[in-house]
Amino acid sequence: MDTTLNREIERPSAERGAPPSAVDAAAVARTACILLGGVVAIEGVRRRSPVGMLTALAGAELIRQGIRGQGSFLRAMGVSREERLPEVIELTRTLTIGRSPDELYALWRNPETLPRLLDGMGTVAVRDETESDWRLKGPLGLHLAWRTRLIEDRPGELIAWMSQPGAWIPHAASVRFHAAPRDRGTEVALRLRIVPPGLLLGSPFEGRLRIVPGLLLQKLLRQFKSLAETGEVPTHRRAPACRGAGRDE
């Protein structure tokens, strides 16, 4: 997995030592970028639908890139002023759980566990011993879907998996079990490494790639702990409330 995730992303060579004519090419490309963005944005707004909204946002992003002279579109055209590489985003969350590494390993490998932990956030369908299909709820009613494959499995110690080609956000993840001191159980570390999609680089969404997955990891880990220690995941679902249908759904 290291080779795939840490591989050097080939960078455009236009910037360094570019001949003077390249500056003109860049100016033309930036103007084109702004004009194209304007057309796309107007078209998006006219549609007045969630897809139209996204189209409009994409248009706005093109305009922004054109003005700043850098971004994924200009990079693709080989005229970006920047030299940034997509960095692999790495996140780890750790929690101590009052069960033995072997018990926790077995619980994580139980095909019913992950779907329970994701309940409300998305679904995981376990296809077989090594492959699972994930589907996470996103904003505007959109879904992120991908397939993962088990790449390392050491009972009582480590489970690692990786997204399969075609995932919009390529990533690798692992859960590691390490005996905690005294009778405290196991220190469980959930680790995620993401290759940010080039389109998001330098965009306002790039920061979200750290925050949202971090919250998700922490929530998964907390719910895993509760399930392991108590046999249930805490919830106030279906709680009576004086709103909507008289309860929370």
Partner: protein, 388 residues
């Protein structure tokens, strides 16, 4: 069913909501027999605590009868008359095993709302803010109780509903506060606040062996309760200089232990109290902490400071006084499950009767008026009970 709901700052209304259901296998459903107002509710009613949602059912101090149990409930049965501490606890995590119940790791579904503020999340509470779990409250006909085997305590025959009711929160909170004082024979304990928790802290200080208890408040009827029902000496802080009076009453030593049972909306007559009031009104600070600062100042050198009042993120906390006087500071939300069996036994033996706290008995339908009375401390109000 009918339930008391929070609809915004100082906006409580009784409405019709869905009945609670068994959601998890260790759940039980209680038919509420009695519930009561708590001072900590006033903080979100007044809008000082974030993460309330319009329509939330409130109330966390209650007792009732078990009417339904989940498949994994073993000890509690349908028909049991039980009292339930206000914090929901799992009984299996490291904190529960250490009897630090309000720190339970497994009952707050919204841990992520607390972690940025506290570093680590606490247990969930019934009918409080969503940062404390967002569970539906008990000012209602029915309430869902998770982990029923750990959180429901059968009320012995001979202990009335009203006596059992306060063993849900006011009594164990007060008792814990007195236990924090590590009382030795001959000790003098001063308690700021004569609300339900303060009066119970005073009573508990005597039960744990205090020689003298000094109660501080400004409402004559509350001070009378402290004298007549608890046997405390009293100080009206609007009439005397508390620091001087306490010195005088303790031979110049100061109280051996000081308990703050007031919290973030303290009233006071000094400059720091007025300054706090302005800052809190402007939302520059969450706390008016006059009572706590006075307790820190009054405490003897090397004494114990026990904090039961609820606070936000306080500023102007006189750490230098605590350090130089070598005070021991203890604070917690109630670890109720640790004390309830002991307290029910004391009540059954007739050594503890907290029912004198009830000054007003209302139906659930009249709960908004009950809270208005309680908040403004009108008509001698100490605690209002609601019967659905």
């Amino acid at each position: 069913m009918r339930a008391l709901c929070w609809h915004g700052v100082n906006n409580l209304r009784v409405g019709t909501v869905a009945d609670p259901e068994i959601v998890n296998p260790h759940d039980a459903i209680l038919r509420v027999r009695l519930s009561t107002t708590c001072g900590s509710d006033l903080h979100f009613i007044d809008g000082y605590l974030p993460t309330m949602r319009a329509g939330d059912v409130i109330g966390h101090e209650f007792m009732g009868e078990v009417v339904e149990i989940g498949p994994e409930v073993k000890r509690i049965k349908k028909g049991d008359r039980v009292v339930v501490p206000s914090f929901i606890v799992c009984g299996s995590c490291e904190y529960c095993r250490d009897e630090l119940y309000s720190l339970c790791d497994n009952t707050n579904p919204h841990a992520e709302l607390q972690e940025p503020l506290l570093g680590y999340p606490t247990a969930g509470i019934y009918g409080y803010t969503h940062a404390f779990g967002g569970y539906a409250g008990a000012h209602a006909e029915y309430v869902r109780v998770p982990f029923a085997d750990n959180d429901c305590f059968v009320v012995p025959e001979g202990v009335s509903d009203e006596q059992a009711l306060f063993i849900s929160d006011a009594v164990p909170t007060g008792y814990m506060g007195a236990e924090f004082c590590e009382i030795k024979p001959g000790d003098v304990v001063a308690v700021w606040g004569c609300g339900g928790v303060g009066l119970m802290a005073q009573k508990s200080a005597f039960l744990l062996g205090a020689e003298r208890v000094i109660a501080i408040d400004r409402f004559p009827e509350r001070l009378r309760m402290a004298r007549e029902h608890v046997g405390a000496e009293t100080l009206d802080y609007t009439q005397v200089d508390v620091l001087e009076a306490l010195k005088e009453m303790t031979g110049g030593r100061g109280p051996d232990a000081c308990i703050d049972a007031v919290g973030m909306e303290a009233h006071g007559k000094t400059f720091d109290a007025a300054y706090d009031r302005v800052k809190q009104s402007l939302r520059l600070s969450t706390d008016r902490a006059h009572a706590l600062r006075q307790a820190i100042m009054a405490c003897r050198k090397g004494g114990k400071l026990s904090i039961l009042g609820v606070y936000g993120l306080m500023d102007k906390f006189p750490m230098g006084v605590i350090l130089n006087k070598g005070l021991t500071v203890r604070a917690a939300q109630q670890h109720g499950q640790r004390y309830v069996p002991r307290l029910l036994e004391l009540a059954a033996r007739g050594e503890l009767d907290p029912s004198f706290l009830v000054t007003h008995r209302f139906s659930l339908e009249a709960a908004p008026e009950g809270y208005a009375l309680f908040k403004n401390k009108e008509d001698g109000c100490v605690r209002v009970t609601f019967a659905p």
